[in-house]
Symmetry: C2
């Protein structure tokens, strides 16, 4: 065996995440590793917490990055807040709502589904109806920005409805945090999780979470232990908690946290509102370019995520071939459809550092060239004798 150092190609990441990572964040990852209980590291952890509170717009004390990707952030919320037999209303309008249901099932909870078409936002009326007919549910879960379709749901309204029915809320903000308005305290969200590699433009592998006092109270009142030792928030908080004494729980991913710290410093420098406005502005440029090519978005205009755009694949075009040519000829990554939308959409991310006019222009023109090439080649191959096609 003789495997050598790995040197990745230089891509432009316009898929559903990871998004482009700024050299400042990459440089931070390469700083010298120190111990996870080092006083200097503990000081950095406090700064990460403070900057995550800013990003989430919350004063929640329990705000911190889980030491694993967004799926583990999802699991952290469910494994702590759901007990066997609990009825949980899960709104499903894409892959990630489905994953929430999986979490409830595996924990022995009883998922009550509010089903919506893929590409639609969650319908508040359906949620209201479901809660009326399941008065014993005490938890509502939904995805703010459905990464599989590019649909934005009205988090504020859905939380209001849930609270009116005496339910706590778990909100998936993996693709929304830092890209569109997300106001945890103002909207009253009880438990929320996100990912480092989307609009925060850090490397993948960390999942910021935030829980309010009502959620913590629910955890404290559990009748059964949290089935996961690694994700048990009462233990994790001994390490991430605010006291001066940090109790060893697990070894934190030190260098990954350097990266998140730097990404959050950059968000703070830009300002959260400015970041939201930048995502919005570049979406409009993308939309103009995409529509000029005669292509259509699958999500209706008032529910589109500016940071994640699902574009219908034109008729007679091999979508996998388009993605492959963009990657090989332009070093440009875009995403495929998942589940029911596989083969039917391109997913084009304009998240975090990726959200720039430069990338919009690159994508629109590269896509135009590749589609023209495929159409030309399809035309030729129909006209020419098979022998010449190889």
């Amino acid at each position: 065996m003789s495997i050598r150092s790995f040197n990745p190609p230089m891509r432009t990441l316009m898929g559903p995440g990871p998004s482009d990572v700024h050299p400042r964040v990459l440089a931070a990852m390469a700083r010298p590793t120190i111990g996870h209980l080092d006083p200097a590291f503990v000081g950095m952890m406090d700064e990460v917490k403070a900057m995550l509170q800013y990003a989430f717009q919350t004063r929640n004390h329990l705000t911190m990055p889980v030491s694993a990707p967004g799926s583990a952030g999802m699991e952290t919320c469910f494994v702590n807040l759901v007990e066997p037999g609990d009825k949980v209303v899960v709104c499903v309008n894409g892959v990630f709502g489905g994953r929430m249901k999986e979490n409830v099932d595996r924990l022995g909870g009883v998922p009550i589904l509010v089903e919506n078409a893929w590409g639609d936002p969650v319908d508040p009326n359906k949620l209201e109806d479901t809660l009326r007919s399941h008065g014993d549910a005490r938890l509502v879960a939904f995805v703010h920005a459905e990464t599989s379709t590019g649909a934005r749901s009205d988090a504020k309204t859905l939380v209001e409805i849930a609270h009116r029915h005496d339910c706590l809320t778990i909100v998936d903000a993996v693709t929304s945090l830092g890209g569109i308005p997300m106001k945890v305290d103002e909207w009253g969200i009880d438990a929320i999780y996100s990912g480092s590699q989307k609009c925060l433009s850090c490397t993948p592998g960390l999942s910021p979470v935030s829980l309010n006092e009502r959620a913590i109270e629910k955890i404290k009142r559990r009748k059964s232990p949290v089935p996961s030792w690694f994700l048990d928030l009462t233990l994790v908080m001994g390490y991430w908690g605010g006291s001066n004494k940090r109790t060893y729980h697990h070894t934190a991913p030190v260098n990954a946290l350097y990266g998140l710290h730097e990404a959050l410093v950059m968000l703070q420098e830009e300002g959260l509102e400015n970041a939201w406005a930048r995502h919005e502005k570049n979406y409009h440029a993308l939309r103009a370019g995409v529509e000029a090519l005669g292509l259509k978005f699958i999500v209706r205009e008032d529910s589109r995520l500016p940071q994640l755009n699902a574009i219908a694949v034109p008729a007679n075009i091999d979508e996998a071939k388009v993605r492959q040519l963009l990657l090989s000829d332009y070093n440009l990554e875009i995403g495929a459809g998942l589940g029911a939308l596989a083969g039917r959409i391109f997913r084009v991310g304009l998240m975090g550092q990726t959200s720039s006019m430069k990338n919009v222009v690159l994508f629109v023109n590269a896509l135009k060239e590749v589609i023209a090439r495929l159409q030309h080649s399809a035309g030729r191959s129909a006209a020419e004798p098979p022998a010449l096609r190889a």
Copy 2:
């Protein structure tokens, strides 16, 4: 709020992990992020798998890094292999055996403890006796290298005993992998997990695991679903599996995996046997230096881990003060005792890149100076009037 970029101090990491990370590994972490389904990344994943098989000395197909720290690697093994009601024999001789028991409890299993004094290896006779009186147990778990005490257990013998009683084995190799001989296939270990930040000298945050066919069969025969979606190996393998088609499961921690890849390239360049020999040699140097200071190891000689040395704190010395002075005056981190050994031992790691003659000399002489300083100052303060002590 105005938080600036974080610039960590330059430490020498001689605690129980993380160990020193080579600049080559840090540089790899800073390479451009690419997508987790990028063909270039998938090729790198195959190389990581092959190099982990080498490190574990196994041909197990299911060999890969879990996208989270060692504690999640432990949980991966338990959550997949333990079902409610299962009797699991757990050998406890320190903190991490205790954590294994916690895992079994939380999964609704029935832990049967084989208890040993902290600092002792697991007693094979006790395991044999326990298995004789619990013939219905089908799983045995133990820690190969107990990080909390520095004791090495005889993994080969313990696995033989377990197999003789028709039990599968879960082995914690967090601190052993890459530091002392670990031969997964030759010894017949069924499920094993480790950490990236110990003798592999990568940054913390990843947990290499390996399971053989018998373990996979047991997972396939489960009556209940794995309670964790994130750690369900049947799902994770769709992404890390050997087929050309990688199914999206979670977003892999791309840059952290660059780091692990580079650390494994370095291990391959040195050669596993040479790495083991280096750890052994530097332990002997440390031992000579420590004994010359009149200090004692707490683990008996034939069970000591060369990479993790528990040294008794001398009488009348404040151990926290020693660690604090080593950190402030020498930028040198060593570890404290955990649990029953808190305040009673120093834990001195010579793991991975940290295991060098240079570090042995630094540690022994820095410790000598600090202890002399504390003794001198204690002598002075006893002799001098309190007013002068400030």
